[in-house]
C-alpha cells in the first residue's frame, strides 16, 4: 500500500511523495549542496517533526526523502543487518511513502541508509551512503555549549580533542574510543563519523561513494564527497588501529569482517558472526563455510545454501 500521491485529487488528503512537502525538500537539498561544498562542516537545517521518534533515524530519513526518486534502489541497514527491526521499519516507511524499490544487496543499491555500520562490500561510484547521526558534534562531550563548539570549528581549534585522546593513551596505553571515532575531513574539519565502529573508519577514506549525514534531533546535515581525505585522529607514536578478532565468522568463515558476539548458552558459550548480514549470506552462497554453520543450519536458524 502506498499513501502518497503527487497530484491531489482534491477528494481525500494524501501525503506528498516521500512524505516531506516540496518546500522542505528544497530546504534540505540546499543544505546538502552546501554540505558537499564544505566537507565535514555541519550545516544547520530546519529539521522537521517526523512520524518516527527523534533518535530513531529522523535525520537520515529526511536526507533520504529529499534525494530519493523513482530510479533509486534503497537498502536500509541497522547494525549492519537488513532485518533488524528499525531497519525494517524505515524500509517500510519508504515503500509506503515513495514506492521505493528496495534491496538487501549492497551492490544493487543506489542509496544505502545506515545506522552504525558501513557495509563490508566496497562501495562504488554513484552510490550514496546516508548515515543516521544521533550526535553530529564530535566536540560535544568535551564542550556542551553549541556557541563554543561552533567557534572551535570556525577557528579549527582542535587542541582539546587531541588532549582528550592523549589522556586516554596515558591512562590505558591507547585511545579507548571504539565507535564514533573522530576523523579529520579534507584537512579542515573534525567530524563525527556517526557511531560506526572505528573498524569502519578506513572505509570512508577516499571512498568513491558520496556520504551524507543527517542528524534530525540536532538539526544538522553534513557530507563527505567521493574521493575525499577522511583521516582518523591519531599520534605518530600511537597510530590509529581497528578492532580484530581471534576467530573468523562462525557461519561464513570471513576473517576480515566486523563480528557480532552471540551468547549461545549460559555456560559462557559464544559465537562470533558477521554483523553485515548480506555479506555473510553472499559468502555462504559462494560456498564459504564457518565452523558452526552446520549446527546453525540443522537448527534452521540460518539457511545453509551450500546444502542441497
Amino acid at each position: 500500500m502506498t499513501v502518497h500521491q503527487s497530484i491531489s485529487d482534491e477528494t481525500r488528503p494524501a501525503y506528498n511523495y516521500a512524505y516531506l512537502d516540496e518546500q522542505t525538500k528544497r530546504m534540505i537539498r540546499r543544505a546538502l549542496l552546501k554540505a558537499v561544498a564544505i566537507p565535514g562542516y555541519q550545516v544547520p537545517f530546519g529539521s522537521r517533526e517526523m512520524p518516527l521518534a527523534r533518535g530513531w533515524g529522523t535525520g537520515g530519513i529526511q536526507v533520504t526523502a529529499a534525494i530519493i526518486g523513482p530510479d533509486d534502489t534503497l537498502k536500509v541497514i541497522d547494525q549492519g543487518a537488513d532485518d533488524t527491526t528499525n531497519a525494517v521499519s524505515i524500509r517500510r516507511f519508504f515503500e509506503r511513502t515513495a514506492d521505493a524499490r528496495t534491496t538487501e544487496a549492497t551492490d544493487e543499491a543506489t542509496i544505502i541508509q545506515t545506522r552504525h555500520r558501513i557495509p563490508e562490500a566496497p562501495l562504488k561510484a554513484g552510490q550514496i551512503m546516508v548515515y543516521q547521526v544521533p550526535q553530529p558534534e564530535p566536540l560535544r562531550k568535551l564542550e556542551p555549549h553549541e556557541a563554543e563548539t561552533r567557534k572551535m570549528h570556525a577557528w579549527a581549534e582542535y587542541g582539546l580533542m587531541q588532549v582528550k585522546l592523549y589522556e586516554n593513551i596515558a591512562r590505558f596505553g591507547e585511545v579507548t574510543t571504539t565507535y564514533d571515532y573522530p576523523v579529520m575531513v579534507n584537512g579542515r574539519y573534525v567530524m563525527a563519523p556517526s557511531p560506526i565502529p572505528k573498524f569502519d573508519n578506513p572505509k570512508m577514506q577516499m571512498s568513491p561513494a558520496l556520504q551524507l549525514f543527517g542528524a534530525g534531533r540536532e538539526k544538522r546535515i553534513y557530507a563527505v564527497p567521493p574521493h575525499t581525505s577522511v583521516r582518523s585522529l591519531d599520534f605518530d607514536d600511537h597510530p590509529f588501529r581497528i578492532q580484530s578478532w581471534e576467530q573468523p565468522c562462525a557461519l561464513c568463515g570471513a576473517a576480515d569482517s566486523y563480528l557480532d558476539e552471540v551468547v549461545i548458552d549460559d555456560q559462557g558459550g559464544r559465537m562470533f558472526v558477521c554483523s553485515d548480514s548480506h555479506h555473510c549470506e553472499t559468502r555462504r552462497a559462494e560456498g564459504h563455510r564457518g565452523a558452526m554453520l552446520a549446527d546453525a543450519s540443522a537448527l534452521h536458524l540460518v539457511e545453509d545454501e551450500a546444502k542441497p
Binding site: 501525503y15 512537502d21 544547520p44 537545517f45 530546519g46 529539521s47 522537521r48 517533526e49 517526523m50 512520524p51 521518534a53 527523534r54 533518535g55 530513531w56 547494525q79 543487518a81 532485518d83 533488524t84 527491526t85 528499525n86 531497519a87 525494517v88 521499519s89 517500510r92 545506522r115 552504525h116 544521533p134 556542551p144 555549549h145 553549541e146 556557541a147 590505558f172 596505553g173 591507547e174 579507548t176 571504539t178 565507535y179 564514533d180 560506526i196 565502529p197 572505528k198 534531533r217 538539526k219 544538522r220 578492532q243 578478532w245 566486523y258 563480528l259 557480532d260 558476539e261 552471540v262 549461545i264 559465537m271 558472526v273 554483523s275 558452526m292 546453525a296 537448527l299 536458524l301 540460518v302
Partner: protein, 373 residues
C-alpha cells in the same frame, strides 16, 4: 542459540495489533468517545495541544485516546500531523487584554478594575476524593451558582497598569518588527532571541518547565517574582487574507496567560523598573504558564547583564532540553540495538585486561630474580 531476526516485519505488524488490544482494554467496558475525552479531560487535551503545538481539541482528544492517555505520545502524534499541514498565513497578534475572562487573579493588588475572578480552579478543593464520581451515572450535578453580578467589561492587564506608571519593563517588538522566528521550520542558533525562547517554552514539557521554574525560586537563578496576573479565557483569532485586505474572525481559542512582576535594580541609563516574566499556553494550563513566566525572566539574564550561572538562565540548556518529544526519542532510542558499538567496547576491554595481565606477569617475573639478589 543464534537468533536470526528474519521476520522482523511480521513482528512489527504484530506489535501494532497488540498495542491496539492494550489500548482497548476490557471489551466489556464501553469504548471511550473522543468527544468524552474532549469534554471531560479538557486539561489533558490542553497539555497535548501545548506540547503538540497545535490548537485542535478534537485532535488532542483523539491523540490521547490513541496514546492510551500518554501525554508525550499524544503530543508526538499532534506534531507529526501538524508538520504536514499547509500554511495559509499567520494570524494577527492576539490581544489578551480583550480576553473574555473565565478566571483572573492578581497577587499584587488586593483589588483592581474588574476584580479577582476565581473561576474554575482546583486551588481550594482540599483534594478530597469525590466518591460519587465512581458511579457510572452520577446524580444530577447541582448547576453552577450563577454570578450575582456580570463581570466587568473592562479587565485591564496588571502589567499594563504598572506600565502606565512607568514602573514596568516595556514590551517592545524588536527594531523593524520582523516576522517572528519559527522554530518548527528553521534551525535555532545561539544566543537565541526572546521570540525563539518563548516559542520553545510554549511547547516545552510541563514537568521540565515546572522543575526549572521551581529551581529559580529556590535560588538557582536570581528571581523575586510576584504573580502580577494569571488570566484564563477566550481570545478571538483574526486573520487578514491577502485578497480581502481586512481582518476576518476565525474563531476563539482558550488561553492561559501569566505575567510575573520581578525586581530589577535598574542601571545608570535606566531608572529602577520591574521586569517581566511572560507565559502563555493553550487551554486552561496555569502551572505551565506560570512555570514558563519564571523561566522567561530567568532567561533574560543576558539582556539585563546578569550572570547566567544556573540552568534556567542558560538558553541553550533550556531550549535544547525542554522539548519532550525530542528528549523522549533520544532517551528511548537507547533501547534500539547497539550491539555493534558494544562489541567494539567488549573487544577493547578484553584486550586491555589481557595486556594488563601480561604486563603484570612480565613485571613479576622480572622482579623475582632481583629479589633473589
Amino acid at each position: 542459540m543464534y537468533v536470526a531476526v528474519k521476520g522482523g516485519e511480521a513482528a512489527i505488524l504484530a506489535t501494532h495489533d497488540l498495542v491496539a488490544e492494550a489500548r482497548r482494554g476490557d471489551e466489556n467496558v464501553p469504548e471511550l468517545g473522543v468527544a468524552q475525552i474532549r469534554e471531560q479531560m479538557g486539561l489533558a487535551c490542553g497539555r497535548v495541544m501545548n506540547e503538540g503545538s497545535l490548537y485542535d481539541p478534537d485532535l488532542a482528544a483523539l491523540a490521547l485516546k490513541q496514546a492510551q492517555g500518554d501525554a508525550i505520545e499524544a503530543a508526538f502524534l499532534m506534531r507529526a500531523y501538524r508538520t504536514t499541514l499547509p500554511r495559509f498565513g499567520s494570524s494577527e497578534p492576539l490581544d489578551t487584554a480583550k480576553m473574555s475572562i473565565r478566571r483572573r487573579v492578581s497577587a499584587t493588588y488586593k483589588d483592581l478594575p474588574g476584580g479577582q475572578v476565581l473561576g474554575p480552579t482546583y486551588d481550594y478543593t482540599h483534594r478530597l476524593f469525590d466518591f460519587t464520581l465512581m458511579d457510572q451515572a452520577a446524580p444530577a450535578e447541582s448547576p453552577a451558582r450563577p454570578a450575582t453580578q456580570p463581570l466587568d467589561a473592562s479587565m485591564p492587564r496588571v502589567p499594563d497598569i504598572l506600565g502606565a506608571e512607568g514602573l514596568m519593563e516595556e514590551e517592545a517588538p524588536p527594531a523593524g518588527d520582523p516576522r517572528p522566528f519559527d522554530l518548527t521550520r528553521e534551525p535555532v542558533t545561539f544566543p537565541a532571541d526572546r521570540d525563539v525562547r518563548l516559542q520553545a517554552m510554549a511547547r516545552g514539557d510541563e514537568g521540565f518547565m515546572l522543575g526549572l521554574g521551581y529551581s529559580v525560586q529556590r535560588g538557582y537563578g536570581n528571581s523575586h517574582p510576584f504573580v502580577g496576573e494569571v488570566r484564563v479565557g477566550e481570545v478571538a483569532v483574526e486573520y487578514v487574507p491577502e485578497e480581502l485586505g481586512f481582518a476576518v474572525d476565525l474563531g476563539d481559542v482558550t488561553l492561559t496567560e501569566c505575567q510575573m512582576v520581578n525586581q530589577f535594580a535598574g542601571s545608570k541609563e535606566v531608572p529602577p523598573q520591574f521586569t517581566r516574566g511572560y507565559g502563555l499556553s493553550f487551554g486552561h494550563s496555569e502551572r505551565k504558564a506560570m512555570s514558563m513566566s519564571l523561566v522567561d525572566r530567568a532567561l533574560k539574564a543576558r539582556e539585563f547583564g546578569e550572570a547566567a550561572t544556573y540552568p534556567a538562565q542558560q538558553d541553550e540548556f533550556v531550549l535544547y532540553h525542554s522539548d519532550n518529544v525530542e528528549a523522549a526519542g533520544f532517551v528511548e532510542h537507547l533501547k534500539l540495538p547497539h550491539y555493534v558499538d558494544f562489541q567494539g567496547e567488549l573487544e577493547l576491554i578484553r584486550r586491555i585486561r589481557k595486556e594488563r595481565e601480561q604486563r603484570l606477569a612480565d613485571q613479576q617475573s622480572e622482579a623475582l630474580p632481583e629479589a633473589a639478589e
